[in-house]
Amino acid sequence: MNNLLSLNNLIKSFGGLTAVAGVSFNVAEKSIVGLIGPNGAGKTTVFNLITGNYRPDSGNVIFARHDITKTPTHEIVSKGIARTFQTIRLFPEMTVLENVLAGCHCRMRAGVLASMFHTPAQRREERSAIEKAMRELAFVGLDDQYANLAKNLSYGNQRLLEVARALATEPRFLILDEPAGGMNDQETADLIGLIQAIRSRGIAVLLIEHDMHLVMQVCEKLVVLEYGAVIAEGTPAEIKANPLVIKAYLGSEELD
């Protein structure tokens, strides 16, 4: 299968701390890959390196055969990488619909003058953006909440709203940072179905998640990080049996 995303020997340190120490892995097109590891292993830093929020000290990020290592965040989004955040970052005082319209932004064209005079083309674009936003809201099951303020949604629904906003950017690759964080069992079960539905739209998914049940069920491939380095890579079954991973998560046997 073709690689959609390749990370090649990414290194990032903050002061004296090396958060990511030579990480390399690939994500195939239309696959679901999980990035797991103990707290502080550098998972979110890897995400921030992919999305351009951080610049790596060395190494590169190749997306759809283009080097995006130095591309600004907003351009990375328009190239087709969308993300959600570990700590929810919605626009709490805006309506649910307007939050999703933020994602539509990069696929719209109207400039300042068209916006100031509400030209016919601008109005058409606004209408189709609202339609697209409503379609994404329906996809995550929030279309009836469209006029609510984002802050009034339940925690689980806020996470879903972030997914809808990310999907509205029309990504080829979606990065989910702990999507099940704060969700109850039912919501987590729904999330598994949602992630699979996203993949069946032809979108590859990379996710960080601590809920091992979800990860093992939904991911085709897992990458395990510890101390900023990849210690294992493989199918969920392989990872479960890998002694290095067991050691990283549970400590070595003699400790017990």
Partner: protein, 364 residues
Amino acid sequence: MSSITSNRLFLPVSGAIFFLCMALLPPVLGSAGLEGGGRYHIGVLNDIGLYALLGLSLNIILGQAGLFNMGHGAFYAMGAYTTAILNTVYGVPILYTLPLAGAIAAFFAYLVTRPILKLRGDYLLVVTIGIVEIVRISLMNDVFGMTGGANGIAGIARPELFGFRLVSPEHFFYLIWGFVAFTVLLFRMLENSRFGRALYYIKHDELAASGSGINTTHYKLVAFVVGAFWAGMAGTLYATKMKFISPVAFSFSESVLLFAIVILGGAGSIPGVILGAFLLIGLPELFRELADARMLVFGLAMMVMMIVRPQGILPLRRRVYNAAKQVGKYACAIGTQKLAPPAPEPATDTTTPPAPQKGTGGAA
């Protein structure tokens, strides 16, 4: 076009009523038997109009994009001096200088704000104070031998509209408030657009905005350019109204006053900014008899306001989209996936749990 917003009517109707009442004011004031035929009152209203215009232009930068610009007077001065120089030296008619004054102010904003857009909050504020002071001191020192130094530029012509020369305060009243009405209309449309939303996203969470694909640097720059363009045009109106300009009119305190108009009225809110102009320019005139005490009372009132109502008197009311027709129209991926093993069973009977997955389902 179909109604995509529900509170679409309230603001346009109240706005139309407001501007209609304003249009009737000069004849009413003229026949009210005031001293000097109400000219003083019209003059105050003209000042309020100019500050409303400047406040609206700053509102795009400070209110909507959340960029702490305390040097807005610099763009205002650029516009006023552009008009003054073009008119007195090159004899360009005033109204032709209007777009040029806007363009020069906008270009100036583009040049000086481009390097500082990465600065946040208070840091940006300090730099913009520097900009307005540099502009004022340059004007004072007769930069390029064109600004007339501390004496300023006198003899600026009156504007002519289709052969009609605007001279009296009443004429300027209609020119200024007509321009305010036009600006309100355009800025309201701008607010309800991709551009207006982008500024709102940037103001509230820059990281989330760029993560959603918004070019934050670009929009901040455009906010400065549009705001400066309008401030430059307000400068033209000021120059032709006064016939004389000097650096004193563009001191740092003017920029602070504009800042206060936007924040007090309600940052980001167009009606709020206009109310702010009425309060901050109109009220001190109203209480002129109190002499020096009025500024003390005024300062205290502002402090109380900011403590009691920090969001401003008339804060921004976001447009509410009406997409009710589209609810339930599109496919949902939640709970419909047969692939998802713990499918949401409606009204679960604990008696027969359908093969619970790893102990999550049947724990009831």
